[in-house]
Structure formats: structure tokens, C-alpha cells
């Protein structure tokens, strides 16, 4: 009996760092952030309770809130589907029996581990409108390239393009693991029944992979709503706020204008948006995700 209690105690002691860390670095910040999001707080003066004022400001008094939300939504709508398709293509290729598969996998993966600042600087250089490699190459085949990051219309697509450089990374590896989990007997059976390669992809690969697609899609939407680094470094939100993403707007309010209370409110609205989008995807998934052992 005493041994039993002792085991309980030691179990708790092993977990104790997490308990402390959760309280200090997650729960207390959560509670405090709820409080300051409901306060007028500019770091110069102590927070004063103000009710829902910050939330009202965001929704009704701050055009940049809507602008940044729209920019983020635009970026998400473009980058998530294209990114998922790109990752899936990489995974499908790497799932074939090809020689030097590891070499291809390494080359596909490398962009994803590159530090984001280096990625941004390399791409800023590639996308320069005058001497950038991409426009020079486009010029060779007779296309006058756009101003990319310097143009209001092309700035967001440019950021999508940069994000697509990383499609061969983690997402593709998760797809690859999913593909390898599909029973090869299914393919053989379909083959005997006379299904072609494309047909096998539609009737076996996609349905069997749908749980993995859902997982990757949820993660991708969450990440794209948190997009910050590239826009902050490459364009600083410009030109004309075309790349002012939500988190960049949040960062500016909290850490450049010291509107801490408003920043906290923006953070909670972001959390709600992400939560809502995740929930929506889970709801809709019932219509298209196929579980073998549900």
C-alpha cells in the first residue's frame, strides 16, 4: 500500500515540470491576456478595465483589421490548396520505386528546413523586378515579368510562391507515410478489375488518403493564418498594406504602437478564427473523409 502511494507521488513528480510550466507560461498568460484584452492598456499606464471596447474597435473602428483579415484569407485560399497539391505530388513521386529516391527526397525537403529569414532574402533577390533571376528568365522566353513583391496585385501571390518552395517538407512526408499505409492488395485488386492508373488514384489513393489530407489541411490553415515572417521581412506589409497579414497587424499594435490591450484582443480574435476554421473543417470532413476502421 505504501509502495503504491509512493509510486503515485513519483509519477506526479516526473510530470511536475509540465504542471509548473503550464501554469506559469500558458495558464497565467491566458488569464492575464483575457483581462488585458478587456482593458485599456498602453504599457505606459497600468491597465484599466474597459469592457469590450478593444473588440468593438477591431470589428467596427479599425479598417486595417478587416484589411489584414482579408489579406490573410486571400493568402490562405491560395497557398493552402496549392501547397497541399504540391506536397501530394512530391509524396506520390517519392512513393514510386525509383533509383536515388533518397537524393530526390533530400532535394525536395531542403527548402523546408532553411531558416525563414534566409528563405525570404534569397527569394527577395530572385523576385527583384529589374535584375531578379525570375524576371530575367521570363524575359528570355519573351514574358515581361511583374514587379512581384513591389506590386499591389502581385505581392500576395509572390508570398504564396515563396511558401510553395517548402511543399516538399513535413507535409509531403506525412502524405508519404499515409501513402505507404495503403494496402497494396487494393491496387492489385483494382488492377485485375481493369482500372487504369488514373482511376486507381481516384478510387483508391484519394479516399484512403483522405484522413491524412484532412490532417494536413487543418495544420496548413492554422499555419497560414499565423503567417508573419516573410511579410514582415520582405515587404513590411506593403505595398499599400497589400501584405499586411493579421499577425503582422497584431505585432505592430502590441510591439510597435504599444497598444497591448488591443493586441491581446486581436490575438483572441485570431484564436477564435482559427478555432472556427478547424471546427468547420472537421464538420465538413464527414462528407469527404473516409475512415477504414471507424
Amino acid at each position: 500500500m505504501r509502495l503504491y502511494t509512493k509510486r503515485k507521488l513519483s509519477g506526479f513528480l516526473f510530470v511536475a515540470p509540465f504542471v509548473f510550466g503550464f501554469l506559469a507560461f500558458t495558464l497565467v498568460p491566458i488569464l492575464y491576456s483575457i483581462f488585458i484584452s478587456l482593458s485599456k492598456y498602453t504599457m505606459l499606464r497600468p491597465p484599466r478595465f474597459a469592457g469590450l471596447v478593444n473588440y468593438e474597435t477591431a470589428l467596427f473602428g479599425d479598417p486595417l483589421f478587416w484589411k489584414s483579415l482579408a489579406n490573410t484569407a486571400y493568402y490562405t485560399v491560395l497557398s493552402v490548396p496549392l501547397g497541399l497539391i504540391g506536397s501530394l505530388v512530391c509524396a506520390l513521386l517519392l512513393n514510386q520505386s525509383i533509383k536515388a529516391r533518397n537524393v530526390y527526397r533530400t532535394l525536395f525537403y531542403l527548402p523546408a528546413i532553411t531558416p525563414i529569414v534566409a528563405t525570404t532574402l534569397i527569394w527577395t533577390f530572385l523576385l527583384r523586378s529589374d535584375f531578379g533571376l525570375i524576371n530575367v528568365l521570363l524575359g528570355i522566353i519573351g514574358i515581361q515579368g511583374p514587379k512581384w513583391l513591389g506590386s499591389i496585385a502581385w505581392a500576395k501571390p509572390s508570398l504564396v510562391l515563396i511558401s510553395l518552395w517548402g511543399v516538399g517538407g513535413p507535409t509531403a512526408m506525412i502524405f508519404l507515410a499515409g501513402l505507404q499505409g495503403i494496402d497494396s492488395e487494393l491496387y492489385e485488386a483494382a488492377h485485375i478489375d481493369g482500372a487504369g492508373a488514373l482511376q486507381r488514384f481516384w478510387i483508391i489513393t484519394l479516399p484512403m488518403l483522405s484522413p491524412t489530407i484532412l490532417f494536413n489541411s487543418i495544420i496548413a490553415v492554422i499555419q497560414s493564418f499565423q503567417a508573419f515572417d516573410v511579410a514582415f521581412i520582405a515587404t513590411e506589409g506593403g505595398p499599400a498594406n497589400a501584405t499586411l497579414f493579421y499577425v503582422l497587424h497584431l505585432y505592430r499594435n502590441a510591439f510597435e504602437y504599444f497598444e497591448v490591450g488591443y493586441g491581446a484582443a486581436l490575438a483572441w480574435l485570431l484564436f477564435m478564427a482559427i478555432f472556427f476554421l478547424t471546427l468547420m473543417q472537421l464538420r465538413l470532413s464527414k462528407r469527404w473523409v473516409y475512415y477504414t476502421s471507424a
Binding site: 503550464f22 491566458i30 491576456s33 531542403l110 508519404l176 510591439f255 491581446a264
Partner: protein
């Protein structure tokens, strides 16, 4: 998996393989070109960066650019700072995550399941949501402009997904191992250190590498917590350098070759570690992806 056996005629098989290798190679080239162009530019002399047609192989090759790039700003300080943060946070994250994972995997105690649900829950909260109150907390503690906000949380299980990974791994090790050691008189700590940790090397390697990559590449947290230039990490220093070219930094001289040299220097450590420990990278991603 589409194997050769599921394809019929030899002619179709050959054209299929040609198509396959061609697609793979084109894709690989698209992924590699930005690297190649950055390396090439980083080795050019200032006069040949913008020549038309583009010069793929630099002539002459100017290695001196790398020395010059490192002197634009005190990069050696940034390297030191980044190494200190990455190593200390890495030790904390890997070791403490395994300890906590051990507690979850091997012990029953009141509240364990609730704590585990909380752990899973915290995995869902994006860090951006809490960056403002965390900043205020660390400001209150006087930790802003020190490395502490980037290191201390790592010692308190701040990476729930790593704890989760560790727990899943420890659950695959048979309990008979613990029991045998217990018969020999080993306590929980001895069992953990002498029996389970040596067997958990694959998890430890994966965790160490993901931790290294995350801290080395991190941008927003150091941006928020480190405002003093002497405390900058490589990521912050690199951004600072890129800002010089836009302004009057070098009196209008082209700096792109130096910026590329600095970028290549910053990404080289991660790339080398990736090339050496590739399988651990991929394993960690896949473990977290499938089971998460």
C-alpha cells in the same frame, strides 16, 4: 504503391519510367535553383551580379565575400548567441520532455488523464495567441533582452508535442524491462536513466534535431524578446543586414552578393545537420503527423 508489376506492356513501362524521372528531376531542379543561385551570387564580384545574360558560374570566384559579409555586422556574436540559446534550450527541452513523458507513460496518479488532455489542448494553442501576455510576464520578471524567455520555458515542458512524442515512444517499450530492473532493486529514477533512456535514443535524437532546427530558425520569439543588438540571434542579424542595403548602409554599393553570403552562412549549419541526421527529421515529422 504502383509497382512495375501493375503496369502491362514493356513500352508503357519504359515511357512511364521516363516520365517519372523527368518529373522528379524537373521538380528537384526547381527546388534547388534558388540555393544554387544564392551560392553563385554569394561568390561573385560586385560587378557581375546583375550581368545579362545571368552568370551561373561566378568568374572570378570571390570567397572574400564571406569574410566581408561576416564583418558587416558582428555575426560571430550572433552565432554565439544562437548557439547558446539552441544548446541550452535543446538540453532542457529534450531531457525534461523525456522525464515528463516517462511520468505520463509509466505511472498512474490522480489527475494524470486530465493533465494529459491539457497537454493535448496546449498543442492546439498557436504561440502567436500568447505572445503578448508572455512578453508582459517576461518583462515583469526583467527577462526581456536576456536569453531567459527563449531558454527557461524549455525546461518546463514548453514543447507539448515533444512530450507527446516521448510518451508514445516509451509506451512501445515493454514494461517487463522496468519490472526486471525493479526486482533487482532499482527505483523509478534508476529505471528511467539506466534502462529506458538508453533504449529511447531514436526519440532523443529526433527530439534534439527538431529542437535544434526550431531554435536555430526561430524568428518571432527572438524578435519580440531580444531588442538589444548585442543579444541578436543569427535570424535577427540576417534581417538587420538585409535592411542595410535598402537604406544608405553601404553608400549605394550593391550588397546582394554579401547578403546571399550571409544567408548561406546562416542556413549552412541546419542543412549540414539535416544531411547527416535526415532519418531522424523525417521520423519525428511522421510520428507527430500520424499519431497527432
Amino acid at each position: 504503391m504502383i509497382t512495375a508489376a501493375t503496369l502491362s506492356t514493356p513500352a508503357r513501362r519504359i515511357s512511364y519510367r521516363v516520365f517519372l524521372y523527368l518529373t522528379c528531376t524537373v521538380l528537384a531542379a526547381m527546388f534547388a535553383t534558388p540555393f544554387f543561385w544564392a551560392v553563385s551570387t554569394s561568390l561573385k564580384d560586385a560587378g557581375s551580379i546583375y550581368v545579362d545574360p545571368p552568370q551561373w558560374i561566378p568568374n572570378p570566384i570571390v570567397l572574400w565575400n564571406y569574410v566581408q559579409a561576416m564583418q558587416l555586422v558582428p555575426f560571430h556574436v550572433y552565432f554565439q548567441n544562437t548557439i547558446v540559446i539552441t544548446v541550452l534550450a535543446g538540453i532542457g527541452r529534450v531531457f525534461v520532455s523525456s522525464v515528463i513523458a516517462y511520468g505520463f507513460a509509466r505511472f498512474r496518479f490522480p489527475g494524470r488523464d486530465l493533465l494529459f488532455v491539457i497537454l493535448l489542448g496546449t498543442m492546439m494553442i498557436p504561440d502567436q495567441v500568447l505572445i503578448v501576455p508572455r512578453f508582459l510576464l517576461f518583462n515583469l520578471l526583467g527577462w526581456v533582452n536576456t536569453f531567459l524567455p527563449l531558454i527557461v520555458p524549455a525546461f518546463f515542458g514548453a514543447t507539448p508535442f515533444m512530450i507527446f512524442l516521448g510518451r508514445q515512444f516509451l509506451m512501445t517499450l515493454p514494461r517487463e524491462l522496468d519490472e526486471a530492473a525493479e526486482v533487482d532493486g532499482a527505483g523509478p529514477v534508476t529505471i528511467f536513466i539506466r534502462v529506458l533512456l538508453p533504449l529511447a535514443k531514436p526519440f532523443l535524437a529526433t527530439a534534439a534535431i527538431l529542437s535544434f532546427q526550431g531554435d536555430w530558425n526561430a524568428f518571432l520569439p527572438p524578435l519580440v524578446y531580444l531588442q538589444n543588438q548585442t543579444k541578436y540571434t543569427i535570424a535577427l542579424g540576417l534581417r538587420y543586414v538585409s535592411g542595410l542595403s535598402g537604406g544608405e548602409g553601404m553608400a549605394g554599393l550593391p550588397m546582394d552578393h554579401l547578403i546571399m553570403a550571409a544567408s548561406i552562412t546562416a542556413l549552412l549549419p541546419v542543412v549540414v545537420i539535416f544531411l547527416v541526421f535526415q532519418k531522424y527529421f523525417v521520423r519525428g515529422i511522421v510520428m507527430s503527423g500520424i499519431k497527432g
